[in-house]
């Protein structure tokens, strides 16, 4: 297992380098002039030119790339062009927020999705199965940004049960920090719950039809024990794969949810950077997203090996 982990991590290094290079040059295609955006419409052409020079974006692209990559490998990702803050400081503040939301949503998705999927599989063809299928189809169809707006208004503003937006003053306690995450995590987790429910149902139905399950049931083993001891583990592999993919989707979905709830995470930060051609932030944002996906894939590989001894390396 350790060898597998080491191999995967080593392979991630050139991949991240390639991603960094690709993103750096792709980001230059953004037609927005950050100097003009910074100074506003009233700025003169001379002021904009002076700002471009001060920002160093009037230099040849290859020089800018060399500067950025040589600093990045030492852990210096530069400064945010639009507020002067160190990128690493912003990442330190924002990554925990987004990851909390994403993993909160994933937890909801796994619990709700598997519960619904297994329930549907155990009642396959009957009305609970059909109802769960309809509900999960709805969950997949409705965009999460719309759900988040509805949640924010009804549960946050109208009913006042939970915060409609991230607190404007820094939360002091863990509870104060978690409370504003409930609605975003739920809104974000709904479509993933639906996807996992569907996958879990079909996977569980397949496993429940296997001979060893039928034998266990024929020998009088209780259904609950058969499901939890024998069926779930074997039905889990495709669900785990899907959950891994869902994690990437959740990071993407977080962008919209963070905007609606004004959550100071990576999504809000990244969108703002893209709109204003804040290239150092775009680069950091994409690198973090890419690194997360790479790490999740490594974890998936490790989980396969744990779930199925046949795929473990020699």
């Amino acid at each position: 297992m350790l060898k597998l982990l080491a191999t995967r991590l080593m392979a991630a290094i050139p991949m991240m380098f390639l991603v960094a290079t690709l993103v750096f040059f792709l980001a230059q295609l953004n037609p927005v002039d950050p100097a003009a955006t910074l100074l506003g419409d009233d700025a003169s052409l001379e002021a904009i030119a002076a700002k471009r020079a001060a920002m160093g974006i009037d230099r040849p692209l290859i020089v800018q790339y060399g500067d950025w990559i040589s600093s990045a490998v030492t852990g210096d990702l530069g400064q945010n062009w639009f507020n002067g803050e160190e990128i690493t400081t912003e990442l330190r503040d924002r990554i925990p927020v987004t990851l909390s939301m994403v993993f909160g949503a994933l937890t909801i998705a796994i619990i709700v999705g598997n519960t619904l999927g297994i329930s549907a599989a155990l009642k396959a063809g009957r009305w609970p199965d059909r109802l769960i299928t309809v509900v999960s189809s709805l969950g997949l169809a409705v965009p999460n940004f719309w759900i988040s707006m509805v949640f924010s208004y009804y549960f946050g503003v109208k009913l006042g049960w939970l915060p409609a937006i991230w607190p404007t003053q820094r939360p002091d306690t863990l509870l104060e920090w978690l409370k504003p995450l409930v609605l975003p995590c739920t809104a974000l987790g709904i479509s993933s719950s639906a996807a996992i429910a569907r996958q879990s149902r079909s996977s569980m139905i397949g496993v429940l039809q296997r001979d060893y399950i039928r034998t266990a049931l024929a020998k009088g083993m209780p259904v609950r024990r058969v499901v939890f001891k024998h069926a779930i583990r074997n039905a889990a592999i495709p669900v785990v794969t899907l959950a891994g993919f869902q994690l990437s989707a959740l990071i993407g979905g977080a962008i919209f949810i963070e905007l609606v709830f004004n959550i100071p995470g990576l999504g809000n930060w990244g969108v703002d950077a893209i709109l204003r051609a804040n290239i150092p932030v775009i680069l950091a944002f994409v690198m973090v997203a890419a690194l997360t996906v790479v790490l999740v894939n490594i974890l998936l590989d490790l989980s396969y090996a744990w779930l199925n001894p046949k795929v473990r390396p020699e």
Partner: protein, 549 residues
């Protein structure tokens, strides 16, 4: 038109004005008494009656009066939610849009009251010794957060710093400055190449924010505000791009400004989220409230504050027809004017909350508003007739730039022009590129908007051979430019008549196509008192605001 919806906010104008007068007082103890400045002040001031919308120009002579009022101690936290993030805490590099982040930490030379009058702040008075010179008298008890003292030399150094700051968004104002010079320790003069009547007003904005002399040497102020304001920025408690936190400055010269112990300004970019923050009690003041959101806030018991803010217009730049020969024909340009339905524009863009009056300044600006200019020119049949007369009866195609931020404006303009047979081809550009685009002569005509400050500033943007809106160096506005120079040296009544004449001239020649007026709105919770928002501000100022009302 300036509107303050609730009776409460109208009543607030009185204590606000009093608190602003108190802004010139001395003393630093919480139980201090306010004392009016002793220097006699003479200046032009703009005064708007919030009830009638009428406005008068007056010469303010600040009498030497002494009033005694107990000042309640600062209490609580004022939480503001802002539309745009702060890009820098350096006033010389800051746009007006970010000023809400700078006001707590910096003092300005002047301030605006709720009736848009310019009143003393760091400057106790200002006079105009000649047409091109302003002389300011300063307080002598101001100390910056780093302990440096404020005096005339510091103010002069600040002006030179602003003028020489690379990438200053307000470079147009400073490029007109010839010299700033010290008269004595509390008096300085600033001389311009041409008259600048709006300078005291501009000194209430980011341009008038004074920086500590210890940081005028090129020090990085991006995340390091160094002013003398009522609150001191807290690096530990702030988070860039999220919330900026400011704590009480115990050494501030005016305790009356300090209604709260702490100010927080939080970025909430989404309009609905910002309103939700106010409605759920997460914020006390919501900056930049869309016209269409006002009713939601009012229905929930929130208070509204609005100021006239901008004049949207279409300007035909290429009047010699280099890029589109049709525009050289005055009948075509006048057809464009007649095609504009200002009421429809107001309904569409401002949810009917702006106005459809023509002319640069709305009725709230009695000083500059001219009812004769306000008449609607909408006449689609007349527009078609003019086009036919000019040989474009079968239609005409023009090209206009559009960036995402102005797409609602452009959408309706395209429709209105389309209705009279003018097809608009859109030149899609990015946000922030409109100014550079028309200044470099790449657009024959464009939508734009002027902030309502002073006619001389707006007219100077359009007319004259070297005006920013005249990249082709056309000479057809030279006579109007001469009138503008005459107005700058004239008494207020003559100047007003000349400003109107110039505006009418631009409209008649089919250069300026007015599109009505829009305002800047803010909303605040009913427990908040003392809210003041001035011209060219996107958020109310924190000075004198209390949250324990």
């Amino acid at each position: 038109m300036r509107t303050t919806k609730s009776r409460m906010s109208r009543l607030l104008a009185v204590p606000v004005a009093l608190s602003m007068l108190a802004a010139a007082c001395g003393g630093s103890e919480e139980t201090a008494e306010t004392t009016e400045p002793e220097a006699a002040t003479t200046t032009e001031a703009r005064q708007v009656n919030t009830d009638t919308g009428e406005q008068t120009t007056t010469t303010v002579a600040a009498e030497v009066t002494t009033t005694t009022e107990p000042i309640p101690p600062a209490s609580g936290t004022l939480r503001m939610v802002e539309f745009s993030p702060v890009t820098t805490f350096n006033p010389a590099g800051s746009q007006t849009a970010q000023s809400a982040y700078l006001y707590p930490a910096y003092d300005t030379l002047t301030r605006q009251t709720n009736d848009l009058t310019v009143v003393p702040a760091l400057a106790t008075g200002w006079t105009r010794p000649d047409d091109v010179t302003w002389e300011f008298t300063l307080r002598d008890d101001v100390v910056f957060h780093d302990g440096a003292a404020f005096n005339a030399q510091v103010a002069v150094d600040n002006f030179n710093y602003h003028a020489s700051f690379q990438g200053n968004p307000n470079a147009a104002t400073w490029s007109n400055m010839v010299e700033a010079r010290v008269v004595d320790d509390t008096t300085f003069q600033v001389e311009f190449a041409s008259p600048n009547p709006s300078f005291p007003l501009e000194m209430s904005m980011v341009m008038g924010m004074m920086i500590s002399p210890n940081f005028l040497d090129g020090s990085d102020l991006t995340r390091n505000p160094q002013g003398s304001g009522p609150w001191i920025w807290s690096e530990e408690e702030s988070e860039a791009g999220v919330t900026e936190v400011y704590n009480l400055n115990p050494e501030h010269w005016n305790p009356a400004d300090q209604g709260v112990e702490q100010v927080t300004v939080t970025l909430v970019a989404d309009n609905n989220a910002r309103m939700n923050a106010l409605l759920t009690g997460e914020a006390d003041i919501m900056a930049t409230t869309r016209d269409a959101q006002l009713q939601t806030g009012l229905d929930a018991g929130m208070m509204q504050i609005s100021v006239p803010n901008y004049f949207p217009y279409v300007f035909i730049i290429d009047r010699e027809g280099d890029s589109n020969p049709a525009l050289a024909d005055i009948r075509v340009r006048q057809a464009i004017l007649k095609a504009m339905d200002l009421e429809a524009y107001n309904d569409s863009i401002h949810a009917g909350k702006g106005d459809g009056a023509s002319g640069i300044f709305p009725p709230a600006f009695g000083e500059f508003h001219d009812p004769a200019l306000a008449a609607s020119t909408y006449d689609p049949e007349g527009a078609r007739a003019l086009l036919a007369e000019a040989g474009y009866g079968d239609g005409l195609t023009i090209n206009m730039p559009m960036m995402p931020a102005i797409s609602p404006h452009m959408d309706i303009i395209v429709q209105m022009l389309g209705a009279v047979g003018i097809t608009v081809e859109i030149d899609q550009i990015n946000n922030g590129e409109l100014g550079p685009r028309f200044r470099s002569g790449q657009s024959a005509l464009t939508w734009n908007r002027a902030l309502l400050v002073h006619p001389a500033k707006d007219l100077g943007f359009w007319i004259g051979e070297n005006a920013p809106m005249n990249p082709f160096n056309l000479t057809d506005t030279n006579d109007l430019y001469d009138k503008l120079q005459e107005a700058l040296s004239s008494d207020p009544d003559t100047a007003k008549a000349l400003y109107s004449e110039i505006t009418q001239g631009l409209i008649d020649m089919g250069a300026l196509i007015p599109l009505g007026h829009g305002g800047q709105n803010g909303m605040y919770a009913p427990n908040v008192t003392g809210v003041v928002m001035g011209l060219n501000m996107q958020a109310p100022m924190p000075y004198g605001v209390r949250v324990d009302g």
